[in-house]
């Protein structure tokens, strides 16, 4: 059961103030509930988008590493490393943000064009075709990896925000509003009680005065 607000004076002024606060808290609660529902909706959409992407990335990387292992066994580890060192960095990544209800969600875009075997930069005479295949596979997996990073970060950030909003909604629903309502009820009861006491006091005074009049009246 919700408690009362401590140190509150049972006056009509205080009662009016509290009634306004209850109204305000209810409006705030409704707005926050809307935000929570919208955030949950966004989270479900992102999760739906994420379904399958992780599996796809894992499959692409597994294939790429299989080709790399074969290339290493054909060319030797040192030659493969040498070829890898001679490749220029080819992926430009554009990081930006999109704002979903105050949550800054990353927006990652890869800026690259697929390179031909000659453009990659390693010596073709010293390398195996398996290395080209491995490179192809690794290049293909870049975009899904970036998408996965974007989605998984979004899920994490949205979930955190939902938790925060949920806590606020629950605090209003189960603590603040019931406490305000209980205090309002308490003041109303106290005011009613005071009114009854006053009424009874007046009645009592009246009866005392009436009795005095009877005794003091000349016979």
């Amino acid at each position: 059961m919700a408690e009362l607000i401590e140190g509150v004076n049972p006056t009509r002024m205080e009662l009016l103030k509290l009634k306004e606060r209850v109204k305000l808290a209810r409006k705030g609660h409704k707005l926050l509930k809307e935000k929570r529902d919208a955030l949950v909706m966004e989270l479900f959409d992102v999760i739906e988008e994420a379904r399958g992407i992780r599996g796809n990335v894992e499959r692409l990387l597994r294939e790429a590493f299989e080709h790399l292992i074969i290339a290493e066994s054909v060319m030797g580890v040192l030659t493969t490393q040498e070829a890898a060192m001679s490749v220029e960095e080819s992926v430009g990544v554009d990081f930006a943000n999109k704002n979903i209800m105050g949550v800054l969600v990353p927006l990652i875009e890869a800026q690259r064009e697929k390179k031909t075997v000659i453009e990659r930069g390693y010596e073709l005479r010293e390398t195996s075709a398996k290395l080209d295949e491995a490179t192809d596979k690794f290049e293909d997996s870049i975009e899904p990896i970036l998408k996965l990073a974007e989605i998984e970060t979004s899920v994490k950030l949205l979930a955190e925000e939902i938790e925060k909003t949920k806590r606020r909604v629950n605090a209003l629903e189960y603590i603040v509003i019931p406490r305000l309502e209980n205090t309002t009820k308490y003041i109303e009861m106290r005011l009613d009680e005071m009114e009854r006491e006053n009424f009874f006091r007046l009645k009592r005074i009246k009866s005392i005065l009436a009795a005095r009049e009877v005794t003091e009246a000349p016979a």
Binding site: R21, K30, K35, M41, A96, K98, V103, L107
Partner: protein, 140 residues
């Protein structure tokens, strides 16, 4: 006549709504302006930057005739808040905005505003994830 309590209440509520809407842009840009930008973005009230996806802007430009590109201000606001009909109802205002919603969802506008429900909100957000934004307000 308004009582002093009502004034305080409206001030507090305004403050709360402001805090809920800190993700809104300081100034909206038209579709035509954004199409010209290399990295189309706007600055939000909390100081952060919100980037639009170019592909999405191109999609919007294909849905609307060219003379509307200078009138459509982005992001489109999806206004959420408690209404007399309950919760989960959103309002979208503006002539061009209504035309767009009509084209995407097939919902007929009522003058320069349109009311949509949760499944439609979801569909709209899926279609336009960066060019729409939620606004929290009292829809009265």
């Amino acid at each position: 006549m308004r009582t002093p309590f009502e004034d305080i209440e409206s001030k507090l509520l305004a403050k709360q709504i402001q805090a809920l809407n800190k993700h809104l842009p300081r100034e909206r840009k038209t579709l035509a302006e954004l199409l010209k930008e290399e990295k189309p973005s706007i600055v939000c009230r909390d100081g952060s930057t919100h980037r639009f996806i170019k592909e999405e802007l191109r999609k919007l430009s294909s849905l609307l005739p060219t003379y509307c590109h200078n009138k459509l201000r982005l992001p489109i606001y999806i206004e959420l808040g408690p209404t007399e009909f309950g919760t989960g109802i959103a309002r979208i205002r503006g002539e061009e905005e209504c035309k767009l919603v009509n084209k995407i969802l097939g919902v007929k506008p009522n003058g320069d505003k349109v009311f949509i429900y949760r499944p439609d909100i979801r569909k709209l957000r899926k279609e336009l994830p960066t060019t729409t934004q939620y606004v929290f307000t009292l829809l009265t």
